[in-house]
C-alpha cells in the first residue's frame, strides 16, 4: 500500500513541477503575478509530495515491507532501526529519491524567501522546476524505488555491513545538500540571463544558497572521509577514487564561485564570469551524478549500472550546459563592461583564486575521465597528489593576501607588514618540524609551513581589523567567517601532512600476553572473547596500551561476521589524544590463537576533519550574518512593500 502511495506522490510531484516551471517561466514573461504565485505554491507542493514519497519509502523500510523490491534487496528485519532508516538512501533508487527531496527543499526555500524579488525568484523556480521534471522522470522511468516484488520474500537480503554505520546517516544527506544546492545558484544565474539583468541582484539573491551548499558539501566530504578512515581499516582517508572526485570537483568550483560572487556583489567585477561559474558548478554536480550513476568509469563501485540511466543523466547534463550557454552568448553583449581595479587589489586576488581553482577542478576531471579515452592506463593517487596538490600549494601562498588587500586598490607593503608574523610563524613551524619529525620530507614541510601560514595569516588579518590581537574578541561575529574558512584549510593541510608523511605502523602477530612497541606505547594483547551484536557475531580482542609500564587505556577491535550478508568486517579501534591517533585493527586469526594486528600512529590525524569543520563553521557564520541582515531588512521595510521587486 505504501508503495502505491509513494508512487502516486511522485506522480503528483511531477504534475506540480510542470505547474512550477510553467508559472515560473511564463509568469514573468507576461508580467502575470498570479502565475508567479502559482509557481511558488506548486514548488511548496512538490516539496510536500517528495517528502511524502520519501516518507512512504522510509515507512516501507522501517516496517520491512519486502513487497517493495528496493526494501527486499537492501534491508532485513534484524537490522537496527537507525540502519533501516539510513538504508533508505544506501542504494541507487533511494538515493535518487533523496536527491529529489533535497532539490525540492531548495525550491521550497526559494519560493518562501523570494530572494531577488518576485520576478527573479519566479524564474529561478521555473528553472528548478525543469530540473525537478528531468529528475522525476529519471526516477520514475529508470530507477523506481517503489517497484513491487511478487511473490513477496519472507526475509530481505540485508544491507552491506560496511554501510551499517552512523556515517551513512550523515554523509549522503550532507553531500546532496551540497551538490544539489548548486542547482539553486544555477537557477538564479539562468533567471538573470532570462531577465537580461546585468546588475548584482541575482548574485545577492543566490549567495546564501551557494554558501549553504558549500558548507554542506564541505561537511559531507569530510564526513565521508572520516567514515572511510575508521571503517576501511588501514587509516587511509582519501583515495582519489572517481566517486570521491565526483564530490570534490563541485566543491572546488563552488569555492571559486563563492569568491567570484563576493567580487560581483561587492565591487561589480566579473559579472559574466560569475554567471558562467554558476552554470559550471551545477554542471560539475551533474557530471558527478553521471559518473556515479552510469558506471561508465572503470571502477569497482557496486552500484547497479544501467546504460539507460547514464544516457538519461548525460542528456540532462547536455541540456543544462547547452541552453544556458546559448542564452549567455545571446545576452553577453548586453552585460556591462569589465570592472576597474588596480593590479594590487582584492579583485586580482580573487582572479588568481578562480584561475587556480578552476584549473584544479579541470585537472581532476581530466584525471577522472582520461581512462575513458585510453583504456590501457589507470590514473591513481600519485597523479592527483602531484598535479592537484601543486595547485593547492600555489593557492595557499596567496590566500592570506586576499582578505587583507582592499577592493580596487590595495597596498602590498601594508599587507606584507600585516603578514610578517604569519611568515615568521610558518618559518618557525618548518624548523620545528625538521627538528622533531623524521624522516625529512620536502612535501610534508611545505604542507606544514603553508598550513601555519594560512592559520597565522587569518589571525593576523583579524588582529589588523580589530586594531590589535587582544581586541579580536570585540569583532562582530561575521568578521570571523573568512578567517575560519581560510584557517580551516590550514588546519586540514597540517593534518594531511602528518598522517600521510609521518605515520608509523606496526604489523605483528600477537598471541595473548605478547606485546609490541609503537610510537612510545606498548601494545599488549590480553585476550579474545566472542560477542553477539544485533545482527552479527564478533571476535573481540582486548589490547592494552601501556606507557612507561602503566596501562593507559584498553581498546577492543573486533572482527565481525554478518550471517545474512555473508560478510566479515573489521571494526578498528581508534584512540586519539587530539594531536595523534592510535589506530588498531585486526587481521586474520591464527591457528595458534594469535592475531595479526596492525597498528598505526597517525600524527595530527584529527586535524584533517577538524579543519573542515572549522571551515564549515566559517560558512555558517557567513550565512548567519546574511540571514540576520535579511531579517533586519524585512523588519525595516513597510509591510507588503512590492517596491523591492526590482
Amino acid at each position: 500500500m505504501t508503495g502505491e502511495l509513494g508512487q502516486l506522490a511522485l506522480c503528483l510531484a511531477l504534475a506540480l513541477s510542470l505547474a512550477q516551471s510553467f508559472g515560473g517561466l511564463w509568469g514573468p514573461l507576461k508580467n502575470d503575478y498570479r502565475l508567479m504565485a502559482m509557481s511558488r505554491g506548486a514548488a511548496l507542493g512538490v516539496f510536500v509530495f517528495s517528502a511524502l514519497a520519501f516518507g512512504a519509502l522510509t515507512f516501507a523500510y522501517v516496517t520491512s515491507d519486502f513487497s517493495v523490491l528496493a526494501v527486499a534487496q537492501n534491508s532485513h528485519t534484524a537490522k537496527p532501526l537507525i540502519y533501516k532508516i539510513s538504508g533508505v538512501w544506501g542504494n541507487h533508487e533511494g538515493s535518487m529519491l533523496l536527491w529529489l527531496l533535497i532539490l525540492s527543499l531548495y525550491s521550497a526555500a526559494i519560493a518562501t524567501f523570494k530572494a531577488g524579488g518576485e520576478r527573479l525568484s519566479a524564474q529561478a523556480l521555473g528553472v528548478q522546476g525543469l530540473i525537478a521534471i528531468s529528475f522525476l522522470l529519471f526516477v520514475l522511468l529508470t530507477s523506481n524505488p517503489f517497484e513491487r516484488l511478487f511473490p513477496q520474500p519472507f526475509e530481505g537480503e540485508g544491507l552491506n555491513p560496511l554501510l551499517q554505520d552512523p556515517g551513512l546517516a550523515f554523509h549522503p544527506p550532507l553531500l546532496y545538500l551540497g551538490y544539489v544546492g548548486m542547482s539553486a545558484t544555477f537557477a538564479y544565474a539562468v533567471a538573470a540571463l532570462l531577465e537580461a539583468r546585468n546588475d548584482a541582484a541575482w548574485v545577492r539573491a543566490a549567495r546564501p544558497y551557494a554558501l549553504t551548499a558549500w558548507t554542506a558539501l564541505t561537511l559531507g566530504i569530510a564526513a565521508g572521509s572520516w567514515w572511510a578512515y575508521y571503517t576501511l581499516g588501514w587509516g587511509g582517508f582519501w583515495f582519489w577514487d572517481p566517486v570521491e572526485n565526483a564530490s570534490l570537483m563541485p566543491w572546488i568550483v563552488a569555492t571559486a564561485l563563492l569568491h567570484s560572487m563576493m567580487a560581483t556583489e561587492r565591487s561589480g567585477a566579473f559579472k559574466s564570469w560569475t554567471l558562467l561559474l554558476s552554470i559550471a558548478a551545477f554542471s560539475f554536480s551533474l557530471i558527478g551524478t553521471f559518473l556515479v550513476r552510469s558506471g561508465v568509469i572503470t571502477s569497482v563501485h557496486a552500484f547497479a549500472s544501467d546504460p539507460a540511466r547514464g544516457v538519461f543523466i548525460l542528456l540532462i547534463l547536455f541540456v543544462s550546459v547547452a541552453v544556458p550557454l546559448t542564452l549567455f552568448a545571446w545576452r553577453a553583449p548586453k552585460l556591462s563592461p569589465g570592472a576597474a581595479f588596480e593590479t594590487l587589489s582584492r579583485e586580482t586576488g580573487i582572479l588568481i583564486n578562480n584561475l587556480v581553482l578552476t584549473v584544479a577542478a579541470v585537472a581532476v576531471l581530466i584525471g577522472t575521465l582520461f581512462p575513458l579515452l585510453n583504456r590501457t592506463i589507470s590514473v591513481g593517487a600519485p597523479y592527483y597528489n602531484t598535479v592537484v596538490l601543486s595547485f593547492a600549494a600555489i593557492l595557499a601562498i596567496v590566500v592570506p593576501f586576499g582578505p587583507i588587500l582592499a577592493w580596487r586598490r590595495g597596498n602590498l607593503g601594508a599587507a606584507l607588514y600585516t603578514l610578517r608574523f604569519a611568515a615568521a610563524a610558518a618559518a618557525v613551524a618548518v624548523v620545528a618540524t625538521i627538528a622533531i619529525a623524521s624522516p625529512g620530507s620536502a612535501r610534508g614541510l611545505l604542507a606544514v609551513g603553508l598550513g601555519v601560514w594560512l592559520i597565522a595569516g587569518s589571525i593576523s588579518d583579524l588582529a589588523r581589523r580589530a586594531g590589535s590581537l587582544r581586541r579580536i574578541g570585540l569583532l562582530p561575529l561575521g568578521a570571523f567567517s573568512v578567517a575560519l574558512a581560510h584557517g580551516g584549510l590550514g588546519v586540514t593541510a597540517i593534518g594531511v601532512a602528518g598522517t600521510t608523511v609521518w605515520k608509523s605502523e606496526l604489523i605483528r602477530i600477537l598471541k595473548p600476553g605478547e606485546s609490541a612497541a609503537l610510537g612510545g606505547y606498548m601494545l599488549r594483547l590480553d585476550g579474545t572473547e566472542q560477542v553477539q551484536g544485533p545482527n552479527y557475531v564478533a571476535d573481540r580482542v582486548s589490547i592494552s596500551l601501556l606507557k612507561d609500564g602503566k596501562v593507559v587505556t584498553v581498546v577492543y577491535p573486533e572482527k565481525r561476521s554478518f550471517p545474512t550478508e555473508k560478510m566479515v568486517t573489521t571494526d578498528a579501534s581508534i584512540r586519539s589524544n587530539g594531536l595523534e591517533d592510535m589506530y588498531i585493527t585486526l587481521g586474520d586469526k591464527r591457528e595458534d590463537g594469535g592475531w595479526a594486528v596492525t597498528a598505526y600512529v597517525n600524527p595530527m590525524a584529527p586535524f584533517i576533519w577538524l579543519g573542515a569543520v572549522i571551515a564549515a563553521l566559517g560558512g555558517m557564520l557567513g550565512l548567519a550574518v546574511k540571514i540576520r541582515r535579511a531579517l533586519g531588512a524585512r523588519a525595516g521595510a513597510p509591510a507588503g512593500a512590492k517596491g523591492a521587486v526590482t
Partner: protein, 146 residues
C-alpha cells in the same frame, strides 16, 4: 552514497592490510624498497588500492612476486617492466609520462598558463580603466565576509 560505494567496493575483497607481515624482509632497507614499490602498483582486483594496501589474494601474490624479484637482485625498473608487460600500464598507480599521456600530465599546467595570460589581460584592462576613471571607492566596500 559515493563513499558508501567506495567502502563497499574496498571491503568486498580488500579489507585490512596484514598479509604484508608474512612476507617481510629482515633487512629494513630491502623491506622499505619493497613497500615503496608495492605502493606504486595497483591491485588488479581492488582498483582504488595499491598492492600494498589491498588484501586480495592477487595483491598478496604480487607482493610475493615483488619480494622474490628484489631478493633475486632485480632493480625496481626491471620489476615494473615485467609487471607492465604482464598486466599492461594499468598495473601502475601513476600513469607513465609518454606521448599519449602528455595531455594528462601537462594539460593542466598548460591550461593554467593560458589562464594566467587571460588573467593578466583582464588585470591590465582593469588597470587602464581604473586609471582613466577617477578613483571613487565605494564606502560600502568594507571588510569581506563570506
Amino acid at each position: 552514497m559515493k563513499r558508501a560505494a567506495l567502502v563497499l567496493a574496498a571491503a568486498l575483497a580488500c579489507s585490512p592490510v596484514l598479509a604484508a607481515y608474512d612476507e617481510s624482509f629482515p633487512d629494513p632497507v630491502q623491506e622499505e624498497r619493497a613497500r615503496t614499490l608495492q605502493r606504486e602498483l595497483r591491485c588488479p582486483l581492488c582498483q582504488g588500492q595499491s598492492v600494498d594496501e589491498s588484501n586480495a589474494k592477487i595483491a598478496q601474490d604480487l607482493r610475493i612476486l615483488v619480494r622474490e624479484r628484489i631478493a633475486g637482485g632485480q632493480s625496481d625498473e626491471q620489476i615494473k617492466a615485467f609487471l607492465v608487460e604482464r598486466y599492461g600500464d594499468f598495473i601502475l598507480m601513476s600513469p607513465p609520462v609518454r606521448g599519449d599521456t602528455a595531455f594528462l600530465w601537462f594539460g593542466p599546467a598548460l591550461i593554467l598558463l593560458l589562464g594566467a595570460g587571460v588573467v593578466a589581460t583582464i588585470v591590465r584592462r582593469a588597470n587602464r580603466r581604473s586609471a582613466s576613471e577617477p578613483q571613487t571607492i565605494d564606502p560600502d566596500l568594507g571588510e569581506p565576509t563570506l
